[in-house]
Subunit: 161 residues, 3 copies
């Protein structure tokens, strides 16, 4: 099964890539490496949740944040596919950084970021297993609870886009 | 126009690279890749502003923080030039990470980090367009409002410095 | 002296690599690059300290946090050695990111992260000198005071693991 097949089997499709708000691009290919910009859990241009992650009133729950990490990761895959010509060009997901807007007392960033890591393995199999950092930060763009950044290696060297 | 020409046309010149406070170096070249250390908005060794970014009394304003991001990015370019022999060696700016010391309620990190991203495009043209993450963090070294990290690809492979 | 010799001369040995809590791996080799996941100051599976770093009652002291950064860096070296076949495969430490769980008023992240940077130079000599970012964040996994991420280049290209 290809990555595209797996995506379809998961009932997922790649969303349209959101336009950057600044002089950067959603993903950049150079040589055989691709880097995405930090991706937010936007669905049709609207954040799937807004706020800080933690346990308690007025906070984004860890489960909701994990679902957001999965959405942000799907947006990262969309940015990758658009920049390199399709997910089947991906040889390996090498690195994921997951930033989680966290109260000082919230320490389950790894389980939140698993929402992104799990998607990589579901879509790419063993080639989706990556090095990862999960970090709790003060706040994120637009009030997003999570931001996901991905670095991958492509199958063949391609021209700079 | 070369990158050096553009810098001059912008009325900018590369500052002296600040000495690191620790066992690290301002920028490292390996093969055709160059990574800078996180750069602060130091001008002649003094931070251009100190504090957390947000709206309100006692905070660094978003506009001031954006100006700081530009200064930090200029320091990153100085570190790159010193490590690789000049900005004209840069083939492509591939990745920028902008950390913004933020109150939990401040969510305009992208517009702050545009201060860095815009400079890259002004100096390198299309080759300055990069993948980027903008993150709001609790605090930064010396009380800096921003820290900017840059990864670039050089035109020819060079020896390790 | 090899890196292993230096480690022994420092009275250190590589710990067992902690199992990841998620669909990621402790370190990933691709081509001649190795990336570690973010490493915590775990000793036999227990954090060497828990809490936010700063000056004052109930906080992890900067000195204690620096010692934790050294432990986390040792765990990063263990992950590198396990993934690539030994520290003597390392040609150069290229990049270290140090995340420090910080109160908004704590700004000495560089001296904390020196705990990691110093170890790299003690073990690898000049080949341990790297580009580095030191960042103060809201909170880290399990309540860890620090998290250390390392990127290195290996001596020969190796197969993907």
């Amino acid at each position: 099964m290809t990555a595209d097949d797996r995506l379809k089997a998961l009932g997922l499709s790649l969303p349209v890539v959101a336009a950057p708000v600044g002089a950067y691009i959603p993903a950049l290919v150079h040589g055989s490496t691709i880097w995405t910009s930090g991706q937010l859990p936007l669905v049709d241009g609207v954040l799937a949740a807004i706020g800080t992650v933690g346990e308690g009133e007025g906070l984004v729950s860890p489960d909701n944040a994990k679902a957001c990490a999965r959405i942000a990761a799907l947006n990262a895959l969309a940015a990758i596919a658009a920049a390199c010509g399709g997910l089947d060009r991906v040889e390996r997901i090498v690195r994921v950084v997951g930033y989680v807007a966290s109260t000082p007392g919230f320490h389950a960033q790894p389980s939140v970021v698993n929402g992104a890591s799990d998607l990589m393995v579901e879509v790419f199999g063993d080639a989706g297993r990556h090095a990862r950092s999960a970090i709790g930060v003060a706040s994120l763009p637009l009030g997003s609870p999570v931001e996901i950044e991905v670095e991958a290696v492509l199958r063949d060297e391609v021209a700079l886009r």
